[in-house]
Structure formats: structure tokens, C-alpha cells
Amino acid sequence: MTTEHVRRTPAPPEGTYLGMPKFATNAKVQLGDNQLRKNLRNATGTIRAKRVARVAEVPEWEELRLAGEAIKNRTLRHLDAYLVQLEESLTRAGAKVHWARDAAEANAIVVSLVKAKGVDEVVKVKSMATQEIELNEALEEAGIAAWETDLAELIVQLGHDRPSHILVPAIHRNRSEVREIFLREMKLYGTPAPDNLTDDPTVLAAAARTHLREKFLRAKVAVSGANFAVAETGTLVVVESEGNGRMCLTLPETLISVVGIEKVVPTLADLEVFMRLLPRSSTGERMNPYTSMWTGATPGDGPQDVHVVLIDNGRTRVLADPEGRPALRCIPCSACLNICPVYERVGGHAYGSVYPGPIGAVLTPQLRGTSSEIDKSLPFASTLCGACFEVCPVRIPIPDMLVHLRHQVADKKRHHPGVEQTAIAAAGWVLADRSHFELAQRAAALAGRLLPGRSHLGPLPWPASPWTDARDLPVPPSESFRAWWQRTRGETA
């Protein structure tokens, strides 16, 4: 991008995900934000309660989870065959299929399709895949404005912000913040917010309707993702609530759908399982307000120029590790985020990825590798409590996978010992031999006697600082239990 480039859409925040510090550092910053923690606690608590109520209505819930797991396993273990079948079905139905090895290739395909239409703006349905490849910025650099149309994504985009949750991306914003963003930004990019805008969610939603209606009525190109892609028929599925998805999928002349290769399901009948699992797990509803299914181009109805971009972008790397492969079963529902005690406290931004929470902690390091600070810290962003597995509609064993990834990160580190490894090596020496142990105890007792009258040590200098900054370390006792026993009982242990 040149310095003369005038942006067409609100600039996102500075910096990239990959340059972010490790999870613990980000978490500390987020934990300092009381408003954020309050918003998160309310939001996750509300969705958790709704989910529990809706799941309890289905007696065969466990049977459904097992079916979801099995269908996805079958698909992933024969993904090549199902992808070829999907391509044939889509082509037969009049869609043009494109393949992209990585984000740059996917973005280049979308940019050239939009440019071929001779337009300089697109409307977008909320899509994890297009966030992952950072399509909006690629379009912006090509002089094309990409407008997010989901209400929460609109709040994030107009707020020069990043999403913090898969399902409710503006979970970290409260109503008065949303009002301020709409008043300040809408007028810069289209129909302004009314002057008498209040912070009532109904009024704010109505402002979004008015602001976006003009864009829907003139849009020639839309970009979407897909929740499912049916190999048998070439049918794509988008699950949504507001109707912005239907607007994008129906009104423009050209529709470009960016779909991860793991989104394929074998048959239309398989949707009977996923369309029961997803809404109850996700928003805690029996069914989401709107689901659109389309099969290529339908003469006389909706876009006649239909494209599907199938993206890899690290997915085949995940597929290659049989222990990591289950992460690709994910049907982004966000139940694992809402149940996670870590996510509830730190929010989505600390995870440094468009995939936050427990699923992000297993998916991101596999998609991107574990070379950056943030990526190698993600497998540790969990207490391993196991709640994420219990709520997962496709039974992804997230805790087991976190341990598997921790092993990978630890193995990589073995050749460059740090403080932790040095401390463990020292402990190994102490515990290996009784005389070493007694020597260490005598040294500790001496330290205890040098600090009379104190019960705890304050913060210690490095290398002990990472431990003592957040914890009180008791002063070592002036006499060990073994020494006391020997002194009072007078026997040799």
C-alpha cells in the first residue's frame, strides 16, 4: 500500500496477529479491563444457560454427537474423494470452482473476480475463512471496499477493532460504546445514524438496518463463507440470524464463497444431524432464524455468476497429524468458548487469532505452526478442565489435543533449555540422592533462619520473578521436618 492510498473502509487496529506476544502477556492486559470481564461474564453465562436448556430438550443428544463425530471423521479420512465429488457437483450446478493453496492465493482469486466485474465494493456475510485469510485488507489494498453486514461484524469494522468471539464478535462492547461508534463512523461510509440515536439495542439494530439497506440494494458482488458444503449435491449452507446473509446470497449478480476444504459433508441427509447440533450448541436456540441453502446458480433466482474458492491454508498440515486431525471436525459453534473458564476471563483478543478459546488453542498452532511466541503459548492457555469436550457437538477431544501440542512445543524447546528446564534439572539432582536432598534442606533452613519474623517472600529478582510476581512464596522453615523428628525423637530416621 502506498502512502497516498486513501482507505475506503475503516482501518483495523495496528499490528498483526503473528506479531503478538505470548498468551499469558496478552491475558494480563485483558484481565485488567473490568468492563470487558463484566461483559464476558454476562454474555457467556447467558449463552451457557440457553444451551443447557435447549440440549436438555433432545433425549438423543449423545447419539447426535456421536453421529456428528462419525460423519466428520468419515469425511476427513476420505477428503480427497469428497472434494473431487464436491467439485463435480458444483460444476454441474453451474458454479465455478477455484482452489487456493494459501491465503495469498485465495485473496488474489477473489480480487481478480471482483475486478473482472468492474466494481469497487462488495457486501460480506460473516465468515471465519475470510477473516482467517484477511480478505478485507487484501480487497482494500486493491481499492475495493468490503462491507461487513452482520451487526456485530459491522460494530467491529466501524470500531476499527478485531472480533473477540466466533459467534458474537462484539461481545466486548457495551451498548453505549456501540452508539458512539455508529454516531461517529456511519456518516463517513454511507447512510448516517439518526441524530436522536439512543443506546437501546432495538434502536441500534434499526440504525444498522437503514445503514446497510442502501448497500444491499446497490451491491453487485457478495462474498460469503459456508457452514457446510454437500459433496453429493453441490449445495452450500449458510446459517445466520439477521437476514444479512440472505441479502448477500440473494440480491447481487455475483456470489463468491470462500470455503475451507474441511467444510464438506458427504450427503444432504447428513445435514439432519448438523442442523440439529449446531443451533442448540451455538446460540442455544432450537433453530437459528435463517438458513440458506443454494446449489450453484438457479435460473431466474439470485446470483447467476456463482464462484466457490476452496482453501487449504494449513488445513492439510492439520490433517497430516492423526492426533491433531479431530480439530478439523469443528462446525464453529463457540460452545467451547462459552464454557471455558479461561476464555470467560480473558476474552478472545488474547488468543491472537481469528479462532479464539479452546478450539483456537488447538487449531491455530496447527494451522500456523508453533514458531511464533503467541502460537507456541496457545496450547498452555487452558486449565485442562475438560468442559470444552463435554459441550462439543462433534466431540473434539480438545484437552487431549492440548496435551499433545504441549509435548510438541516442549520437544522443540528441549535443545534450548530455559529457566524452567534448568530448575527441573536442579530438582532432579536434589531428588536423585539422599545426601543431595539433605544438603538442599540444610541450605533452605539456613535461608529460613536468615529471615526471622517473615512468613512470605516478596517478589524475587529474575529468574524467580515470573513465579513470585503473581504468588506469595513462603519463607523456608528454619528446621526441616526430618531434622525436627531426629531432634525430638532422638532416633535416626
Binding site: H78, E87, L204, R209, S241, E272
Partner: protein
């Protein structure tokens, strides 16, 4: 190598541990497809669940559908409506008789023309009792997708024999029409969002008013 072949090659080498070439033999799916969900009264459940989404439901004998359609439109303050070409002639006559300005989609109305029309009236394909969902398959009595999207009020007529217990039965009934290439729209209540502080707001971009007539 082109991207397609390279991705397929990557997938194949990633799956070197899979030896059984037949997916159905390799992974068993212990699920019986297309089963009904047991419930005391399918139609009662459908009404209850649809009301739960804050849609308005009127249950009438089949012969009274035309009057119910006209009454509900008038009560909702509708002045104009677009009607798909295949809509039941008796419903159409009742709507005209109620003094509502009727628009046809032949030739196709522009998006801005549709945006100026108050309501749309359609039939439907299948409905799901357990979830309160109405599925459109966009046959001639429902029209193309834009008709049921841009106007702010959607009145939809559901026949009793179109209501099934749950999602599996519905997917089974819809398979043939999907194979023919028809799009589907699944509607569960009016458009809604919970994006601001998880406060549910009925009505964002899709029709903000959903009126349902269930014809027994």
C-alpha cells in the same frame, strides 16, 4: 503443479494412515436417518414453537385461508403486497378484495421496487414442529428468494400435511427438490439479533414481521 492438484496431493499424503478405500466401511455412522421425533401433537407443537419466536400464528380450517390472509394483512397495516405467480387464486382474490395494492413479479421487479412494497404472501414447502421452522423451496407459489426477503412483512401459509415432527423428516422430504437445483430458505421466526449485550432484538434485515396461517 496447479493449486487443485497440489491440494489433492497434500490431502492424499496427509491421509497415508488410511488404508480402507471405502469411506462407509472405514468409518461406521451409527445413526438411523429420517426418523420422526415422537410428540403428542405435531401441529400443536408447531404452533407453540412458532409463537415462541414472536411470530403471529393463526390456525384456521382450509376453507377460511383466504379470509385469514386478508384479515392478517389488513390488521398489520399492509397497503401493498407482492404475490408470486403461482399463488392460490382464492387467496389473491381475497387480498385484492381487501383493498391491498397487488404487485406481480413478472417481469422481475427491481430491488428498489421490492423495497417500496410492504409485504409478500407465499405458500411454503415443509414445516418443522420441534423447531418452529418453515422451509421455502421457492416453487412458483413462493417465488424467487428476493420476494420473501426485501418487503418488511412476510405472510406465509402452511398446510397441515406439510408439517413434520423434526429436522430429519424435513430433510428427507426436501431431498428431491434440492437435487433439482432449487434453493431453500429455512425461516424460524422473524429476523433477529443478539449482537448487542446479548439482548434479543426481533427484526434486523429480513422481514421484521412474520405472519403464519396454519391451514387444517
Amino acid at each position: 503443479m496447479n493449486a487443485r492438484d497440489e491440494i489433492l496431493n497434500r490431502v492424499r499424503s496427509a491421509l497415508a494412515d488410511v488404508v480402507q478405500p471405502d469411506p462407509t466401511l472405514d468409518v461406521a455412522v451409527g445413526w438411523t436417518y429420517g426418523r420422526a421425533t415422537a410428540m403428542p401433537d405435531v401441529l400443536e407443537r408447531f404452533v407453540e414453537m412458532t409463537l415462541d419466536y414472536k411470530a403471529l400464528v393463526r390456525r384456521v380450517p382450509a376453507t377460511e385461508v383466504p379470509d385469514a390472509v386478508a384479515d392478517l394483512l389488513v390488521a398489520a397495516g399492509v397497503g401493498s403486497a407482492v404475490l408470486p405467480a403461482g399463488l392460490d387464486a382464492t387467496w389473491r382474490a381475497a387480498i385484492v378484495a381487501a383493498g391491498i395494492a397487488v404487485h406481480e413479479d413478472e417481469p422481475q421487479l427491481s430491488r428498489r421496487e421490492l423495497n417500496a412494497i410492504d409485504a409478500v404472501v407465499t405458500a411454503s414447502a415443509v414445516s418443522i414442529a420441534e423447531t418452529g421452522t418453515i422451509v421455502l423451496d421457492h416453487a412458483p407459489d413462493q417465488g424467487r428468494r428476493a420476494l420473501t426477503l426485501v418487503p418488511d412483512t412476510h405472510l406465509v401459509v402452511v398446510r397441515a400435511d406439510q408439517v413434520v415432527s423434526d429436522v430429519p423428516e424435513a430433510v428427507g422430504r426436501l431431498a428431491a427438490v434440492v437435487a433439482e437445483g432449487n434453493p431453500l430458505t429455512w425461516i424460524s421466526g422473524p429476523s433477529a439479533t443478539s449482537d448487542i449485550e446479548l439482548t434479543r432484538v426481533e427484526g434486523v434485515h429480513g422481514p421484521r414481521t412474520l405472519l403464519v396461517v396454519l391451514a387444517d
